[in-house]
Symmetry: D2
């Protein structure tokens, strides 16, 4: 078919197609891998825990090069998985991995993303029974034109109770599961647990896996006493973050999975102007 | 590389690998295609409407045959898409397509599945303003050992309000989005719209896309007046179906996306014994 | 419980909680609804077709107002669904709906998003048999500070065949399903069908729902003759769009669901600088 | 509003609504919780590892009782999470938890389901470089009418290469990511790692996260030398399990995410007759 069979008799001369020259004069903003899964140890306020991360990494590819060496990006996560068993990853800790990424691929720009479920222990308000709750975390670290930036996001499930429904109804008020998402660019190391509290404290009520009846009575009445529109939720969270010197910027989102509709109500405040 | 190039000079002699003999003496229960998408017209109580179906079809493959002819299964959906533009599909209408499926593949057993979103118009309880709501439908039709069976399922989003929370709390009660799923094996043609009503009428409240404030007051108070555990929801739906002579069997499910937890409560009653 | 019961005796005096004053001096970038489903008629190069859209809309809420009137956003989609039955929506057609959105909510900024599956007919390369294929479309229209912008994205499933695997192997080459996403900001009306062709023509091979054996031979050999890295895919698509005067900007993405790995390879070129 | 406020002054007299009598004479097949997430330690052939499980549990509720005590089902997973930190869960180990479930809720029938990602180390075929790969596992344990049954399922991503495409084409052959699912009811403890090998060994090629070019050449040629229809994949896996005395029954499935189509080919063999 062609002459390559002869060339390839010895694996030592297997050609490096990716390193060949590309004449199209088009750099590529992002080239990489995604949807990898790796076990990682992550440390937050209450200690280290094993997490299962969905991972992505990409670099900017210069115009002259035909392809990147994808296996080096995979190898980075293999190493991160091994290293963090002994020295858990923390917020802020992706900077060294982005540096390794750029070095190993001789790239100017690059980014790493990790998505994982983080567990925390919670204490029920009256019975004091303990249980576990899960939060979805996203860490995104990027180096672009020499500037490093790390963005930390956490999604916090809560209860929201509608102020309008409460006010206009003789009794009751519709309430529902909501997801609040707090995203920050920290200037100093922060705990995800503290970002979670921003959401939980500003909701109509926080959630628990285990509630005794005395607790259920408490959270029901607490939510009724703390009605919040989706607009209230994001304004309240923004007020908590807006003057906080630890953050170079933030966004806060709320999505209510409305109990009286088959759609969601939604609000978002972006505060990235200082970036 | 091998001698096949000579053989294949003329496409008229392209070998039919699938039709070759398999010596492993293993029939295959299901061989087919899935995750196809097709535009279909579907007719229910309130007229015909275009739907976008996610489609699957499979047949039982006899032990002697190496492979089935997958393209015939795809061709079936091409034809169904074309034919239903003029003569919309209805509940019960999959029987002729299952017959065609078995005929075209000389198969004894086979099945077709369609999943789609069905829209219905609803009228708000007080303002009488109209709006559209969507339900997820599954049609599953199977011929096995000469017996044809069609199963119709519809998922109905509703509000559920917790009787325990209402009773133990001085005010308020947690409520949330729930999804009720009604599945039946009809002996006679039925309307999906009628199955939807079974769920909506037994919930704490049905849902609407558009509600004025007078309506919001109404549904809030209505839900408070009709508290339902997940257990109540399935029992109430089962009672509606259990003595209905139109059905050879049914199942009813309820899932509450709890507003005070980050997990779901769930119940299911199966009533297939007569099948 | 409180004095509201008296006030609410007549629905005519139901309070408008959303219109109350908010003292926190925080405008909200986006307030709205999402995850709504509506039947829409959409017209592209080959005529109009019914689609099922997942819809979202939001507006910027001024600092002084406590809440937006969510029902007006829902009413907009109710009207869009009705109007497009007679006058199908086209690329560029969301501008009038964004204008209505801003007017009805007295908002300065606002956005509408529609996601839907679009079907097109394709002809197999040799047998000329026709079949249907589906593409995922996203229309995003925004008015921000008086400037209107519409972004059109379409995801195109294709085959990619690895140039490295082909070159280094004595026979065969790994290939896989890839999804190419073409996003443009058109200055003039464009057809989504034309954006689809940009992806299909630059892939190792385009896809078809129905292929006869003569076609399967053709696409297998065609893909082997047109190996493409994920980097090649985005560069080739970018070259097609970069000098096209119809577009104010674009991005092109490729994701290969690698057949030799359990993860994806990925590339993206952004060309929004002219915006 | 009603007299309950007086009753509830002391939490010690909070009524137990769930324990009340239900007069509808309808037992409920399944009542429980789902979509819980818990950290669990799981031990397989190569040692114990932390996994993040999505958990569900349900029991049969007798006709006389209005509701089950959902919090006891949640407490079960809290305890399982704690206990497995010291004594990891293994295949077969859910039996004691199902027993506890039935005991704590005085139920005759009940079931537990765990879904999680399991990681294993793999060695590339030529370079011998090691990397990590992930498999999706489902454990389902049920006690029904006094009979205990545990079903173990694992999904194995592999490469499949089409025998027809290879035979009819002058060069190349379409291949793609496939997912093979092996489900067994073991009579004796088995390792999930051994079930994984059944799928990987019968595929056109197994997958690796990290491959050097010498490995990529090897797996490309290996897949070309081992073409498999979706039908071949399930027959080959079935042959491996059919005479294995360790299993009381099994099913094997294969789904090919076809590289030349935008849909999947699919096959399944069920072998549960001995149950």
């Amino acid at each position: 078919m062609n002459s390559k069979q002869t060339i390839l008799t010895h694996s030592s001369v297997i050609p490096d197609v990716q390193s060949e020259h590309d004449s199209r004069k088009l750099p590529i903003d992002r080239v990489g891998v995604k949807r990898l899964r790796y076990p990682i140890y992550f440390e937050d306020k209450f200690g280290a825990q094993p997490v299962v991360a969905t991972c992505a990494a990409d670099i900017m590819l210069v115009a002259e090069q035909k392809g990147t060496h994808m296996s080096r990006l995979v190898a980075l996560f293999e190493e991160m998985s091994a290293v963090t068993q002994k020295k858990p990853l923390r917020v802020g800790g992706l900077q060294e991995w982005v540096t390794r990424l750029l070095d190993s691929l001789h790239a100017q720009n690059g980014a790493i993303e990790l998505l994982f479920t983080l567990f925390m222990r919670k204490t029920a308000p009256i019975s004091k029974i303990e249980s576990t709750i899960n939060y979805e975390v996203r860490l995104y670290a990027e180096c672009k034109n020499g500037v490093y930036c790390e963005k930390v996001s956490v999604s916090v499930p809560v209860t929201s109770l509608c102020p309008c429904s409460k006010r206009i109804s003789d009794y009751g008020a519709h309430n529902q599961r909501s997801v609040l998402t707090v995203s920050v660019v920290p200037k100093v190391p922060v705990f995800i647990a503290d970002l979670v509290r921003v959401g939980e404290e500003e909701a109509s009520s926080e959630l628990f896996a285990l509630l005794k009846r005395v607790d259920e009575k408490y959270v029901t009445e607490y939510a009724y006493d703390h009605p919040r529109f989706v607009e209230d939720l994001v304004r309240a969270m923004a007020q908590r973050l807006i003057d906080d010197p630890r953050f170079a910027g933030f966004s806060v989102e709320a999505e209510n999975f409305e109990s009286i509709h088959n759609h969601s109500a939604y609000a978002k405040i972006d505060f990235w102007q200082s970036l």
